[in-house]
């Protein structure tokens, strides 16, 4: 029986395993050095905030794996010998494979800051990071202040986490406005205000210079690059993005760049070795996507795809229209299609923006300047229907159509106030002005 070995029990590896099991009775082993069972990384924050316990973040009950005949191994893969097709574990044992799927995810970026390895300095990616945080910041007596470095999706989650335990947070963001490498300016600024409303000390256009140690090798304070200001703190969260977790492959024959290089079939340069999820790097981005997509949904889609290939139906990874979501403290964010921030915005892309006066809801609709084709939408504080936008994007609807039919895409709970008519009249007004 063919032995499929998957390194990594995150969403990509687990999705692959589940689908392979549905399609075949091959022997499947999932390896992870992080936790015994698959848990939802996206839910890490809720454990610290007391919304859930770790058990609740496991999408499948523990009996699921045995029942589906998927073997789990807790161990750290140190090296891969692709010639003899064996894995060597840090614990000393080996495991042969017939086909190997690398799904090792990401690790937090560290940019060589002085003091980045001190006690009390941590990323927020693995379960172990959460344990470290729990140790250093159990409450606001043990942790009088925390500094977060890096204004991305994980940074703002970490800020929310600490805030939930009334720990004062200073949030250093390199950009001039929160996440404005991705978000259009108006949206980004609305989020700035929302962060401040939560009494988080948001510092824009601010870089970390160094982290200072106390006499015990624990963080004492940080210094800000621009002003030289020293901020005393007990915890420093490094959340300046993530990169593929593939250091253990550096000495293997598998081709890597930032991530594991794969073709559209998710195959590496070595036969029978595949890579999926956060750690996979396409030779070229697909349909305006980045070559490395560190999001949950991509890992899941790649898992769904690779299972087909492994089970004899060799198909390309061919994702549909882009979508994503996040939550900024109390404001939910969804996006469908492409809406670019100032930096990456192509010339042809034009925006229509509407914001509610309460400053917690807004939308941005992107369309093509010449053809009026609808390109995408960002929505904050208003839930919208994935399926509807997916259809409109496929049908290449024009922007007028989308705004006039926005009601059909409403996904808010029943009885909620709706804003489609406000949006429509704002849109018409804007057309008159232009």
């Amino acid at each position: 029986m063919e032995h499929i070995v998957i390194i990594g029990n995150g969403i990509s590896g687990v999705t692959a395993a589940r689908h392979i099991r549905k399609l075949s009775n091959k022997k499947i082993t999932i390896i992870s050095a992080e936790t015994d069972y698959f848990f939802s990384r996206t839910a890490l924050m809720y454990i610290y905030m007391g919304h859930m316990k770790f058990e609740h973040t496991k999408p499948y009950e523990d009996w699921f794996w045995k029942k589906n005949n998927i073997e789990l191994k807790n161990g750290y893969v140190k090296t891969i010998d692709t010639v003899s097709k064996t894995l060597q574990f840090a614990e000393g044992d080996n495991m042969p494979y017939d086909k190997l799927i690398i799904a090792t995810g990401s690790k937090p970026n560290k940019f060589g800051w002085a003091g980045q390895d001190l006690n009390g300095v941590m990323g927020m990616y693995h379960k172990q990071d959460l344990d470290t945080l729990e140790k250093h910041a159990p409450n606001n007596k043990m942790c009088k202040r925390a500094v977060i470095v890096g204004g991305g999706l994980i940074g703002i989650e970490l800020a929310e986490m600490l805030n939930s335990r009334n720990i004062p947070v200073t949030f250093l963001v390199r950009e001039s406005s929160f996440w404005n490498g991705v978000l259009p300016e108006n949206e980004s600024q609305m989020i700035n205000r929302h962060i401040k409303n939560h009494h988080i000390d948001l510092r824009l256009s601010t870089n970390l210079k160094e982290i200072i140690s106390d006499e015990n090798g624990k963080v004492k304070s940080i210094i800000i690059e621009e002003t030289g200001e020293e901020i005393f703190c007990d915890v420093v969260g490094l959340t300046a993005g993530v990169s593929p977790n593939i250091d253990f492959l550096k000495n293997s024959n598998i081709e890597t760049n930032r991530g594991v290089k794969v073709n559209r079939f998710l195959e590496t340069n070595i036969p029978d070795v595949y890579a999926i999820g956060d750690c996979a790097e396409q030779h070229e981005g697909i349909n305006q996507r980045k070559p490395i997509e560190a999001v949950w949904y991509t890992g899941r889609m790649m898992g769904e795809t690779i299972a087909q290939t492994i089970c004899g139906n060799r198909i390309q990874y061919n994702p549909g229209h882009w979508f994503n979501s996040a939550k900024f403290l109390d404001i939910e964010y969804q996006t469908y299609g492409w809406v670019f921030g100032n930096k990456a915005k192509p010339d042809y892309e034009q925006h229509f923006h509407w914001k509610h006066e309460d400053d917690t809801k807004c939308i941005t609709v992107a369309y093509h300047k010449e053809t009026n084709e609808f390109l995408g939408i960002n929505t904050f504080g208003i839930r919208m229907r994935h399926e509807t936008f997916n259809t409109w994007l496929t049908e290449k609807r024009d922007v007028n159509y989308v705004i006039e039919h926005l009601k059909e895409a409403n996904f808010e709970p029943e009885f909620y106030k709706t804003f489609e008519s406000d949006i429509l009249s704002a849109y018409k007004n804007q057309l008159q002005i232009v």
């Binding site: 839910a43 007391g50 058990e55």
Partner: protein, 529 residues
Amino acid sequence: MSNKLNHSMSLAKPEANDLSSKQKIAVFIGVVGLFILTLALLNINFPNKTLFLTLSLGCIAAGTVIFTNDLYLTKLEGIKNDGVWFKSISSKGVLGWVTGIVLTLFYIVLYFYPSLLGLGQKGESNTGLIALFDPLSQLLSGRPASQWFVYGTLYTLAILVFGYKFMLKYRHNKYQQLRTASVMFFQLAFAFLIPEFMYRLNSDLPYYDLKSIWPLNYYNFERYRINQFIDAGDIGLALLIFGVVSIFIITPILTYKYGKRWYCSWVCGCGGLAETVGDPFRQLSDKRQVAWKIERWVIHSVLVFVVLMTTAVIYSYLGKDSSKYWLTRDVFLGLVAGFLTLIFALTLIFKRKELGKDAIYGAIGYLVIIITLIGLHYFSSGSKLFLFKSETLRTTYAFLIGSIFSGVIGTGFYPIFGSRVWCRFGCPMAAVLGFQQRMFSKFRITTNGGQCISCGNCSTYCEMGIDVRAYAQKGENIVRSSCVGCGICSAVCPRGVLKLENDTMKGRINPTEILLGNDVDLMDFINNK
């Protein structure tokens, strides 16, 4: 997911959830109110009962309101679940257990030892706690209080003040606010005030909470009530007819249109208590698959039990002679058997595919009832059903299900098993509504394409123990008989994945393997296989 005990108490515990000074004052005021009740319970005879009762209930209400305002109005609108699993009361900690035990004792006394609460025996006047409530009872219905009046008052007060709390907690959520206002209204008007006023107007009428429908209200068709209804003349007859119409006509129509939530989350008093007082405990429901298996056996057994019990009770007082009254014992048995057969046949014909293995269980339940009915016809004499007296059946049901299950376990154990234990495992009304919701209703929870991140908030906060995530992460709509449509899963979902909706029946159940967002050809290939 296991529901192990909370061990966080022994660790360096997050102390962010300490009470503010305003909250401490509020707790103090509330405790004063409770203390007055306790003193009354210990037989302290208050001189001015009206004053002290007002003071007591007023303090409890004021304490809760002040506490709530300080808890929620000082924060921005949004989900307020911070620290739920750190607090002793809401994570099966010491406080949770103590509360559970106190509540359980209260129920035991209430149901079985009302004299301890001060109920006057054999025409004597009330003492203690019950006497304290005499003035209010006199005011409303013109008679002294009973243990049920005390209970009803406290129950209503609890739904009102904790309903207020719930509405502030979800002040960003219109759905939550409306349905909470609705249960508060139905409890206050239908369960509490109207029956008291009805007594004033016509003291022959039995106590009748109009929103309490058979089989929840299992005693509605018992002999003494039927007699009372009939003796009370036209109004009584109207009420009796309403009782029949509400289960056989109103309920199916509303459930078809809106799902069982119209009742369980908008009207019902048990649901009302669970959603308000019980809200801090909703996350304690058991999400494991074995719990679901047990649930289905238990709740449907209760349903079979109540159908048999009611049939036997009605049978026992019907006549045999069709020339006196058309509804004789045999006609009645025939009607029951015919009705059940009709439902069973329709389900099998139209829903066979959806049912799969469950059809067998349905068939077992159906057979048990039919065989019993036949047995009833051939082997019963007088008031006996087989070997049991229908009366024995009735008292057993009233004791086991009516008191122990719905009261002692259902409410007393809130802090241990979660807030909807009764609704989930025991309520025969929920079983009836749920069956229809699963088979024949426009209601479902739609999942939003591929947006689920499997975080688990929805499953954790589902009071019915439904593993909502299991569906959401497959992009599959949630169509479950037990879902009471509380909408909390949708509220707590951080990615806007879930929406409670009434839409067409077609495509309501939509299992998918590949989620929206991936290769369209792959989706077609797999999902339409």
